[in-house]
Structures are given as structure tokens and as C-alpha cells.
């Protein structure tokens, strides 16, 4: 009977247990849901592969996969987060369509049910960025002294997506940004993307506030996703000026009116107005001699024997000893002397702005006017004495074509017209040292006409100041021939084309451009502002050896006198 009772108790217990509804209370427990900020990136893989994420706040908790994208297969749906918070999953991923694009493809979510935490949703994404091929437009950006913004390009020539990151730039590089989008900055450690075949034009600007005078060089470094070019380096360079002129630039007071150079002694002579002064400067000994003048000078030339300086001034012709620039003779006149030469026959020939030509015999103190009549008038205001010959070439400023006249000075009492060539030379013409060739202001080269030249004068060459095939009427400022180096030096105003004016060294036989030297800026105070100003060479002279050129130049600002001379080593 006891056994039967026991069985009844067993029955009752089973019945009671089977009526317990408390398990439904589990449904009332609220399960929280969270999204993980960082996606899990996957790609097709046929073998189970470990992927992991770190959840530092969920150490040592069990988890179970609750939901997952269909293309993923798990080795196990259960797992544990280890003591470091590392959650590891072993997954296989089926093949799926992976278009090449910057943006990741969303493949769904893995939802994990984590013990005592809730549901954690992990976004599953995939990216196919291919293989990029990066290049950069410039390996060197030289801001030099203008500090203007520069542009360089980052290029991706392959079909892959390029990612790049600026990792280093000097402090004086203010910013690098998208050239087209003003607020799209390329910041340090900020990753940027560039699609296949894309070009990123970058604007780079400087901040020189804290830079000391001198040259500063540094590098800009990008890290890229191109396995062949993981690092891109751009050298950057900037020059900070001291606002002091170098010692090689020698200031000249006043306005330079004319200059002459004696190659045998490497001495420069020039005359200035305001103050009226004659100055000599030996470029070797650096000895400078100055002589204040009574009248404003207009021109200066060396006598053929290089012993005298003939100086034309207001109503005066003055003769100076070359070596000590002491005045030897004064010829008072009633006009301004615009040009003057030594006739090497005891006479000085000179002219005035009215194209009247005169001579002065130092021995007899006789002044003769040679301009008269209507036919074959001897006139001009530009004079050139042919070396070793009793001939002077005359021409006129302000006429085009001004032509050139050959005048015989064998007769000291009367200049005799010899020949005339109707061709344009400009306001001045220059010859080679041997006076075989002459260069017009427009850059045309002629054989220098003489008494044996026919009635026609033929152009035999053209000096072109920059890369061009056009034989144009260029406007050269000065020519200088160096027989020692077989070079023709020329000054040209490039302001319309470039930020620098230049002097150009031409081959004196082929007339090819061989050398180009930018003119240094000059520190001057213009309208109260002390700054660097662009300069233009007005006179160029080559030293006897040809290794240096002496450049007499002025700033290009209008109506500003900031004349100076600069000696430039042209062997470098």
C-alpha cells in the first residue's frame, strides 16, 4: 500500500510541475539592443578564417550568434569573449558581387546575443579598392620669395581606389587643400580617397611669420595605399629675405644717364643726374671714384685710345682723364650734348637733340657745325666712331626706320657724307668688340656697314630673347659683346611674361641662347614702402676675361630711381 501511495505522490508531483507557468516570466525580461560603431569588413574566403573585434567592456562573456548575413558561415554559433575583450569568430564568406568603388558595400548585420548584455549588432561590410598607382606632379615646390600659393597634383592612374594620408608637413606650410573646394582641407592623419584615374589638385599655401631670413627646406610626406609607392615625398623650399641688399649690389645715387666700360682695366664709368656726377668703379679693385659735375651730364664715351672720357652735358662738353677722372678740358656750348665721340684725329664730334652735329678741335679750340643743306644732310643724335677708320656712323632716335649714315671725318674742317642705309636700328645700336657686326635694338644682327658696304644692308641673324621661332621686333634694352667668351649679352624686359627680368647670353656665332640669368630684386623704399622690387638691366658690360658681367640697373617701378650696379659671375 505504501508503494501505491508513493506512486500517487509521484503522479501528483508530475502534474504540479507540468502546471508551472513561471517560465513565461522570462519573456518579460527586456533585451537591450546595441549597434557597434565599427563595421566588420569581410571578403570571400573558402576556409574558416578568424576575425575578431575588441569589446573592452564585455570581457569574459558568452555570446551566441542570433542573426547573420546569408553569405557568411560560422564554424560555431557560440563563443566567449576572452579576458582582454577580444571577440573571435571563425567564418567563411561566400563569393559575392564586389564592384570597385570607394564606398563599402553593406552585406547586412551580425547580431550577437551576449550574456548579461543584450543584442549587439555588427554591420558587415566589404570593400573592393583594387590596386591603385599613385604619382605626384611635383617632387619639389620652391616658393622662393614670392610665397604665392602653389598647385600640385596627386594622381591615381590605375583602376584601384587610392587612399592617402598627409603625415608630415613643415610648420610654415599653412595649409594644403582641394584646389576646387576651399573648405576641403588635407589635414595631418586625415585619410582621403581618390578614385580610379582620379586627379586631386592640391593648393598649398605658406605662412612665413615665424621664419628667419634664409633658405628653409623641408618635406611634405604622404602615406598611400599604393603598395608600390607607400610613401610620397615632396620637397618644399622657401627663401625668406632679409630686406637688405647683398654687398654685390652697389647703390648708385641719382639717375644714370650713360655708362661706359673699359675692358682693359675692368673699370666702369657712368654719369648721373641729381646729383650730377661722374663715377668710376673698378670691378677688380672695388675702387670707386666720384666727381661732382657742374652741369647735368647726358652721355659719356671713351676715347679710342682709352685715355680720355668725353662727357656731354647741358651746354658743355667736358674731357676727363680716364685714370683719375680729372677734368682736362671744358667746352662751353649753347645746347645739350646728346652724344659725343673721340674722332681720334684731335677732334671731338658730338651732337644735340636737334640732330645737329658738331666738332671741336682741342688744338685750335675751334667749334664747327657740320649740319647744313638739304641733300645728304649730316645729322643725328647717335654717334659711333669706327675703330681705326676715319668714319663715324650717325643715326637718329625717335625715327623708324631711322637709317644709318656713314660720314667721313678725314677732313677736320668738314664732315663728308659717304653712304646711307635705310634700315631700322632703334634708339641705339651696339657692335661686337671687333666692330664687324652690329645689333639693333630689335635684336637684328647686321654686318656693320662701312665705306665698302653696298647700298643695301642685309640682316644676317636674329637674337630672340626667349623660346620662340618668331623673328619679331623685339625690344632689347642693351647689348654687350664678350670676345673672350664668344657671347653676346643682352637685357630684355620680360615683365609681361615672367616675374623676373633677365639677361641672356647668346652664342656670338649661332645666336643661340646659351645662358639666362634672372635679375635679382633690389631692396628699396618706394612711396614709403621698403620692399624688394623687380629690376631691369639698363647697361651690361662684360669684364675683360668675360667671367663677370657688370649690370647697371634700376627698379622697374615707374619714376623711381633706385639705380645700382651688380657684378655677376657668369661662369656658374
Amino acid at each position: 500500500m505504501k508503494n501505491i501511495l508513493f506512486l500517487f505522490v509521484l503522479f501528483l508531483t508530475a502534474f504540479t510541475i507540468s502546471c508551472d507557468d513561471s517560465f513565461l516570466d522570462e519573456n518579460k525580461k527586456r533585451m537591450e539592443g546595441y549597434n557597434l560603431d565599427v563595421p566588420l569588413f569581410v571578403e570571400p574566403v573558402s576556409q574558416f578564417t578568424e576575425v575578431s573585434i575588441t569589446l573592452p567592456d564585455l570581457k569574459n562573456k558568452d555570446f551566441k550568434v542570433f542573426q547573420y548575413p546569408k553569405i557568411i558561415h560560422f564554424e560555431s554559433f557560440d563563443g566567449s569573449i576572452d579576458e582582454t575583450g577580444k571577440l573571435t569568430l571563425k567564418i567563411k564568406v561566400d563569393a559575392f558581387d564586389r564592384p570597385l568603388q570607394i564606398e563599402p558595400i553593406n552585406l547586412g548585420n551580425i547580431i550577437l546575443n551576449i550574456e548579461e548584455f543584450g543584442l549587439l549588432s555588427i554591420k558587415v561590410q566589404s570593400v573592393n579598392w583594387g590596386t591603385p598607382n599613385v604619382s605626384i606632379s611635383d617632387n619639389l615646390i620652391d616658393f622662393d620669395i614670392d610665397y604665392n600659393d602653389r598647385i600640385f597634383e596627386i594622381r591615381n592612374s590605375a583602376t584601384g581606389v587610392l587612399f592617402y594620408k598627409l603625415v608630415k608637413k613643415p610648420s610654415w606650410i599653412k595649409e594644403i587643400r582641394n584646389y576646387y573646394i576651399s573648405n576641403d582641407f588635407i589635414e595631418i592623419d586625415s585619410v582621403k580617397a581618390l578614385g580610379p584615374g582620379g586627379i586631386m589638385p592640391c593648393l598649398i599655401s605658406t605662412n612665413i611669420e615665424n621664419l628667419t631670413p634664409g633658405v628653409h627646406e623641408d618635406v611634405i610626406v604622404f602615406e598611400t595605399s599604393d603598395p608600390a609607392n607607400p610613401v610620397l615625398t615632396i620637397n618644399v623650399k622657401i627663401r625668406i629675405r632679409s630686406y637688405e641688399n647683398p654687398t654685390s649690389m652697389i647703390p648708385i645715387e641719382g639717375t644714370v644717364m650713360d655708362a661706359e666700360f673699359d675692358k682693359s682695366t675692368n673699370t666702369l664709368f657712368f654719369v648721373t643726374q641729381n646729383p650730377a656726377k661722374l663715377t668710376s668703379y673698378n670691378i677688380v679693385s672695388k675702387i670707386k671714384k666720384e666727381k661732382l659735375l657742374d652741369r647735368n651730364p647726358y652721355c659719356i664715351s671713351l676715347s679710342e685710345d682709352k685715355t680720355k672720357l668725353i662727357l656731354g652735358a647741358t651746354e658743355r662738353l667736358e674731357i676727363y682723364n680716364r685714370s683719375d677722372i680729372q677734368k682736362e678740358e671744358t667746352i662751353d656750348l649753347e645746347f645739350v650734348v646728346s652724344d659725343a665721340v673721340d674722332g681720334n684725329n684731335g677732334l671731338y664730334y658730338f651732337c644735340n637733340p636737334n640732330y645737329e652735329v658738331f666738332s671741336y678741335n682741342s688744338s685750335t679750340k675751334t667749334l664747327l657745325k657740320h649740319t647744313s643743306g638739304w641733300e645728304y644732310v649730316i645729322d643725328g643724335d647717335i654717334m659711333l666712331k669706327l675703330k681705326g677708320k676715319p668714319y663715324i656712323l650717325l643715326s637718329k632716335k625717335g625715327y623708324s626706320p631711322n637709317g644709318i649714315k656713314l660720314v667721313n671725318i678725314s677732313d677736320k674742317t668738314k664732315m663728308q657724307f659717304a653712304k646711307n642705309w635705310h634700315s631700322g636700328f632703334g634708339d641705339k645700336y651696339w657692335t661686337t668688340e671687333d666692330q664687324i657686326y652690329v645689333f639693333s635694338q630689335m635684336g637684328t644682327v647686321y654686318r656693320l656697314p662701312n665705306e665698302n658696304t653696298g647700298t643695301d644692308i642685309y640682316k644676317i641673324g636674329q637674337l630672340i630673347p626667349y623660346e620662340s621661332s618668331y623673328e619679331y621686333f623685339y625690344d632689347f634694352k642693351w647689348f654687350e659683346h664678350s670676345a673672350a667668351t664668344s657671347k653676346i649679352w643682352a637685357s630684355y624686359d620680360l615683365r609681361d611674361w615672367s616675374k623676373k627680368n633677365i639677361i641672356i647670353g647668346f652664342d656670338d656665332k649661332t645666336y643661340e641662347r646659351k645662358q639666362e640669368i634672372e635679375m635679382n630684386d633690389y631692396v628699396a623704399t618706394v612711396n614709403g614702402k621698403r620692399d624688394y622690387y623687380m629690376t631691369l638691366a639698363r647697361y651690361i658690360f662684360s669684364s675683360g676675361s668675360g667671367n663677370e658681367v657688370v649690370v647697371v640697373k634700376n627698379v622697374t617701378e615707374s619714376n623711381v630711381n633706385a639705380w645700382h650696379l651688380e657684378i655677376i659671375d657668369v661662369t656658374k
Binding site: 500500500m1 508503494n3 501505491i4 506512486l7 500517487f8 509521484l10 503522479f11 508530475a14 502534474f15 507540468s18 502546471c19 507557468d21 517560465f23 513565461l24 516570466d25 522570462e26 519573456n27 518579460k28 533585451m31 551566441k64 550568434v65 542570433f66 542573426q67 547573420y68 548575413p69 546569408k70 554559433f77 552585406l107 547586412g108 548585420n109 546575443n113
Partner: protein
């Protein structure tokens, strides 16, 4: 279903045979009480094709597990000398199964859901029962018995599915038929073995998750069929023999 009808016919045949043994002259007990336990096998299987389940083998195993029932039953009869009796039959049956990592396509074209499921089904059956018995052999300690009961069955199904606990309850009329042998060690006490068939369907059920309740009438294909053939052994107690 065909198998179920054959079993029922066999049981009724045995009951008839038992009643026909009433002419045996012997000392008749007045009461018989039994308590048994055993195993049952449900004649119907669970739903085989569940929409969206990817790894069907896990569901198949659970379905197989759900067909195997543990069974406790008890009855008490007043016996008449003619070899029959009247009494009451109680039967308790439990089936359970669980399956981990069931993968379900949630029909969003992108995701699968992973879930563990379990199910525990309890059926309690009570009903008046007609009992038949006859002595086998000359020792007066071995009885061939049979019973036929019509009664009421209660279903209680506890399940965990889609991360939610669900309780399904229902009730319906049912029938139980058994045949067996009782062997008495003493004049009053012995053991017995029964082979029975419980027929029970539940078409109208109540479902609740503890918050919401739903009443649902299941169609013929999805009704819960607890019918099973069960074999049990247990203790037998004869009073006033």
C-alpha cells in the same frame, strides 16, 4: 492513421475475450488499483516542413524526439465477479525535445536567424473506464486484463521558440484502451504490464507568452495529435481478494 485503427480493434477484441472469461469459478477481488510507468510512441509526427528552416535535420531530430513519450498512468476499479469492473483511468504523458542552432531564413533576402528551440508537451487524461479480467492458469495469480476508457484530455505544451517562451494549452475528449497481464506475488500485491493506446487530438488551443493570449482553432493538418501506443509496467494492488 491506419495503424491506429488496427490497434484499437485489437484492444476491443481482447476486452471481449476478457469478459467472456467471467464463468471461471474463483475468488474474486473487489478492488484493483494500479500505478504504472512506461514509454509511449506517438503515432503522428510533428510538422516536417517548417517554412524557412535551413538545417532541417535538426528539426527532424527534434520531431523524432517528440514522438517518444514518458508515461505515468494509474487506474482504480471496482471489480465484479463476472470478470469485469468499472473505475477511473488517469494517464499522464510527457514528450520533450530540444534543438540548438536552428537556422531560419527570415525572408529578407539577406539574413538568417539562429535560434535554439525546446518543447515540453504534457497530456493529462482522466476518464471512466470499463475493465475486464480473467485468470490465466490454475494458480490464481496471473490475470489477463483489458480496459477501455473514454474521458477528457488536457494538453499543456511549453515551448521556447524565436527567443520567446510560449505556453499552449488545450483540451478535448479522448479514449484510452489497454490490455495487459497482472502477476501477483502475494494474494493482493503484484506487478503488471500494459500495452495501451491513447487517442487524443487537440484542435482548439490557447496560446500565451505570459502577456498576450490567443485562442486558435487548428485545422486538421496542424492539430496536435497526442495519440500514442504506450507500454508500461507497474504495481498492482488487489483488495478484498
Amino acid at each position: 492513421m491506419k495503424q491506429k485503427n488496427i490497434t484499437l480493434s485489437l484492444l476491443l477484441l481482447c476486452l471481449t475475450a476478457s469478459l467472456s472469461a467471467q464463468f471461471v469459478d474463483q475468488k474474486t477481488p473487489r478492488f484493483r488499483i494500479s500505478a504504472s510507468g512506461g514509454l509511449g510512441y506517438l503515432i503522428a509526427s510533428g510538422q516536417e516542413d517548417i517554412s524557412g528552416v535551413v538545417n532541417k535535420e535538426a528539426i527532424d531530430k527534434a520531431n523524432r524526439d517528440l514522438r517518444l513519450a514518458t508515461n505515468l498512468n494509474s487506474d482504480a476499479y471496482y471489480l465484479f465477479e463476472e470478470g469485469w469492473g468499472l473505475g477511473v483511468k488517469y494517464l499522464f504523458q510527457k514528450t520533450s525535445a530540444e534543438a540548438d542552432d536552428i537556422i531560419v531564413d527570415i525572408q529578407d533576402n539577406a539574413h538568417y536567424m539562429v535560434m535554439d528551440i525546446w518543447e515540453k508537451d504534457y497530456v493529462n487524461y482522466v476518464g471512466p473506464s470499463l475493465f475486464g479480467y480473467s485468470t490465466v492458469g490454475n494458480n490464481d495469480n496471473l490475470f489477463l486484463i483489458s480496459s477501455l476508457s473514454f474521458g477528457y484530455a488536457w494538453l499543456r505544451s511549453e515551448a521556447y521558440v524565436l527567443n520567446q517562451n510560449v505556453l499552449v494549452t488545450g483540451g478535448n475528449f479522448g479514449m484510452n484502451a489497454e490490455i495487459g497481464l497482472d502477476y501477483l506475488f502475494t494474494p493482493s500485491f503484484g506487478v503488471g504490464v500494459n500495452l495501451g493506446y491513447l487517442m487524443s487530438y487537440f484542435s482548439k488551443v490557447k496560446m500565451t507568452d505570459g502577456v498576450n493570449k490567443v485562442e486558435q482553432t487548428l485545422d486538421k493538418d496542424s492539430r496536435y495529435n497526442a495519440s500514442n501506443v504506450h507500454l508500461s509496467i507497474g504495481l498492482r494492488y488487489y483488495l478484498n481478494k
